[in-house]
């Protein structure tokens, strides 16, 4: 029956209300049109979760999806996507995770798990190849993520199968944060990998779904095994030549934190403080205890943590993700061992490190400005560098207690609840918190555009170009010379990557190319780290992904087709958000929007300091809409664009609902 390679072609439908479980075949034409993972998921979300469905209604779906490269030998093919309508933003909510769950899910024989309805009692879904069952989770409810994972592994004898030693159970689970509907709640993959943004964990909590656990022994069939091995090895060797390879291989996402450096420089100008020093390299040496990798990843950029001395002695875990460091810098905490503690607590409570970080920085700024005091916080002094306070607030956020209850709703709802003008500090785009240090601004004009036009709200992972200009990357060998050459080679303009805040319309095309690459990664189930997103010179690019897809699936894919598919999914997601009411104004950085809506500049922000003006932003935004085929007046996809991309049904739907107006033709 199964003639497919790469894909499994099967979808698992689980209705939590009725307990009905069924398996369906995925339409063959979807594979070419939407490729997989986030492509399939966004399509299903568009078709089945309309504006009439509220994030917490039983009709909302949780869609877990993997791509054709997930679980294969293709470089870093470990990713799994969790998609739902986000309770934080009310629009598309999707988040992506590494770890082993994606691979195990694929090996159990499913590309998609679609969960609907709402269970009366806590449950978890147990999948062992074709055997799928809903199991009671009363004994798991209230446990943290680590305890949940271990209990499930114990129940199902994770380390033994047919007498073999084999740790083969992948779990996705929520912690107390998800159970208590915190807007910082993420879904955890195993112990230390997270699908973070969009408060998707809260949807799980609302549906009374504690976990999904899977053991897969079917494997992934590969069309051309020998060629795949050769390609994987070649791409790996080629990556070595990239100037940013070494730092990535050594520090993982922390290699990026130099970037946040310049970002927090902006921030500190903004809040009037002084610049932080980065956590010293030595600090990491103290807490790192060997490397850790996601399934099938040659980079293995994660680390084991083991704090050997000091206040947090004995803290063991995995991490730390770059954002932990970014926020720790903003908290003005300098000790690496605190990073490990913060990281672990987030993982155990099932909270997104950056959601928590943003909320804490928000509270700190409020405290500093005298907007809140001990009476508001229940006696906690939220001063900079107060590690104990941060840890207490984190627990409060997860359990929605004390001041943490308000912080848990950061950004929009928290500011509304607290009042007192706290909204001026609560930066967000489309309801998704912006990194507080930057207040909606990236390191360059084009980076800022990408962050704010992204479909899941403020987001660097689905919509930004990461080739920074003349900044810290030079330290790693990403010199001006290399950047000019790259700009000339790709876009015929040596200045493409050399004009951080000036309007250069060539950069918009570069940005769109990068967005397509990021979408491709999510659609095929591959990590973004070995691609040109992270390694701009020798990383994996369109043609490499097309080749890998060909060798894995046996179907011929061209780079052009993939770019079209990526544009299709990107446009579909914008159409989804448009249907939910998102318009051009929602694509502006926080402080610019503030200025446009209130007719006065943001009280804490003077644009001159970061060289970003409304005029400049409008220029690149208009160009971006033009290239994407969107109507610049309203900022939504044109009918012709939708039809060109093979989405006439979407165009028809938007027209019927009045989202697409006549002049839009």
């Amino acid at each position: 029956m199964n003639t497919l390679n790469g894909w499994t072609g099967r979808k698992l439908e689980v209705d939590l209300s009725s307990g009905r479980i069924s398996t369906e075949t995925i339409q063959k034409d979807w594979m070419r049109k939407f490729v997989g993972s986030s492509g399939f998921a966004s399509k299903i979300l568009y078709d089945r979760v309309g504006p009439e469905v509220k994030p917490y209604s039983p009709e909302n779906l949780i869609i877990i999806s993997v791509g054709p490269l997930t679980g294969t030998l293709a470089p870093s093919g470990s990713r799994v996507e969790v998609t739902t309508k986000s309770p934080l933003t009310g629009i598309l909510g999707r988040a992506n995770s590494g770890g082993i769950f994606g691979a195990k899910m694929k090996m159990s024989g499913y590309d998609l798990i679609v969960i609907s309805g709402k269970s009366k009692k806590p449950v978890y879904i147990w999948i062992e190849d074709d055997a799928v069952e809903l199991r009671g989770a009363d004994h798991l409810w209230g446990l943290d993520v680590w305890q949940t994972h271990h209990r499930i592994c114990d129940t199902h004898k994770a380390k033994l199968l047919d007498g073999n030693f084999l740790n083969s159970i992948g779990t996705l689970s929520i912690g107390p944060a998800g159970e208590n509907l915190s807007m910082a709640a993420c879904v955890m993959d195993g112990l230390a990998h997270a699908a973070g943004l969009g408060a998707i964990g809260a949807v799980w909590g609302d549906k009374n779904l504690k976990a999904v656990a899977v053991r897969g022994t079917k494997g992934v069939s590969i069309a051309r095994p020998k060629e795949l091995v050769q390609t994987a090895k070649r791409l790996w060797e080629r990556a070595h030549a990239d100037p940013l390879f070494e730092s990535t291989f050594k520090y993982g996402t922390n290699a990026w934190v130099g970037g946040s450096y310049s970002r927090s420089k902006v921030a500190r100008v903004f809040v009037g403080g002084e610049r932080n020093d980065a956590i010293e390299e030595k600090g990491f040496e103290e807490i790192y205890d060997g490397h850790r990798g996601c399934h099938g990843c040659f980079l293995s950029c994660d680390h084991f943590l083991n704090v050997k001395e000091g206040k947090y002695k004995g803290t063991k875990g995995e991490g730390v993700e770059g954002f932990v460091q970014i926020y720790a810098l903003s908290f003005k905490t300098r000790s690496a061992s605190f990073l490990a503690k913060y990281n672990n607590l987030c993982n155990q409570l099932g909270m997104n490190v950056s959601s928590v970080g943003s909320a804490v920085v928000w509270a700190m700024e409020l405290w500093k400005a005298g907007v809140i005091n001990k009476e508001d916080t229940g006696g906690i002094e939220i001063t900079e560098g107060n590690e104990e306070a941060i840890l207490v607030l984190m627990s409060q956020m997860a359990y929605r207690k004390g001041f943490g209850d308000i912080m848990s709703d950061y950004p929009k709802e928290a500011a509304r609840k607290l009042g007192k003008g706290s909204d001026r500090y609560a930066a967000h785009t489309k309801g998704q918190f912006a990194w507080v240090p930057g207040h909606g601004i990236g390191t360059t004009l084009i980076y800022t555009l990408g962050l704010n036009t992204a479909t899941r709200g403020f987001d660097h992972l689905t919509g930004t170009i990461s080739i920074y200009t003349r900044d810290w990357r030079a330290e790693f060998g990403m010199t001006d010379k290399l950047l000019t050459e790259l700009g000339q080679k790709r876009y015929g303009d040596p200045n493409t990557f050399m004009t951080p805040w000036e309007v250069n319309l060539n950069t918009v095309q570069a940005e769109i190319d990068q967005e397509n690459l990021l979408y491709m990664c999510d659609m095929v189930g591959m990590c973004k780290f070995p691609t040109q997103y992270n390694m701009p010179v020798h990383g994996i690019y369109y043609s490499d992904i097309a080749l890998l897809l060909e060798q894995v699936t046996g179907e011929d894919f061209t780079a052009g087709e993939l770019v079209d598919a990526a544009s299709r999914v990107k446009t579909l997601e914008h159409a989804y958000n448009a249907r939910e009411g998102m318009r051009r104004i929602d694509d502006y950085p926080f402080f610019l929007r503030w200025e446009m809506e209130r007719g006065e500049p943001h009280p804490l922000f003077t644009a001159s300091k970061v060289k970003l003006t409304l005029e400049n932003y409008n220029a690149v935004l208009d160009e971006w809409y033009k290239l994407r085929g969107f109507d610049p007046v309203v900022g939504i996809p044109r009918k012709a664009t939708l039809e060109r991309l093979g989405l006439p049904d979407v165009a028809e739907d938007l027209q019927k609902r009045g989202t697409l107006k006549e002049r839009n033709h």
Binding site: G71, T72, L73, I100, A103, M107, W146, H150, K157, K159, L160, L161, D162, G163, N164, F165, L166, N167, S168, G190, L191, A192, G216, T217, K218, G219, V220, S221, I222, P225, L228, V229, A232, K233, W236, D289, G290, H291, R292, G293, C294, H295, G296, C297, F298, L299, S300, D302, F304, N306, K316, E318
Partner: protein, 170 residues
């Protein structure tokens, strides 16, 4: 037993293992044409909470317990590579070798329904080729350092398995 060329071993440096399972993917791809760690000859045992990961593969013992335990005499030493392998014409898949091996060397392929054992891919192991963090090497154990590493690892693995197999019985 006479081995025609210098005996090479799969030397496991488990402290460098990241648990990425590339070895298992490459192995299953080589042997079965699919990416399926459940069918691989090398497996990754992962005690993530302890920060402890061990690639499990046949250690090619000088005096293999499995060889003595096998009533069918299906466990043999390959004359070309010196690897301990299974003679498929004799094996009855009774799993006694799996029971007695202290290192978890032989394993059961759930799809083919047979016991499998690493055979060094006839001298070009697929797994060592893809191990990017240097946890696996295919090398002749001729210097003191290599020998110590190998012996230490064997001892550690054995101790760990003992502890773990105890901790599973609850």
């Amino acid at each position: 037993m006479i081995v025609k060329r210098v005996q090479k071993y799969l030397v496991v440096d488990y402290q460098k293992c990241t648990g990425c399972r590339l070895c298992a993917l490459a192995c299953s791809l080589e042997k079965t044409g699919t990416c399926n760690p459940a069918r691989a000859r090398i497996r990754v045992a992962d005690w993530e909470e302890k920060g402890f990961i061990v690639p499990i593969v046949c250690q090619d013992c000088a005096e293999p317990i499995c060889m003595n335990a096998c009533k069918e005499k299906a466990i043999i030493r390959d004359v070309e590579t010196g690897a301990i392998t299974i003679d498929r014409s004799r094996c009855t898949n009774c799993k006694i070798c799996m029971q007695v091996c202290p290192f978890g060397g032989p394993s059961f392929d759930p799809a083919a329904r047979e016991v499998v054992l690493c055979d060094h891919c006839s001298g070009n192991p697929a797994c060592t080729d893809v191990c990017t963090r240097g946890a696996l090497r295919y090398t002749a154990v001729d210097d003191e350092e290599q020998r110590t590493l190998r012996l230490n690892n064997m001892a550690e693995m054995r101790l760990t398995f003992f502890k773990l197999s105890r901790s599973q019985e609850h």
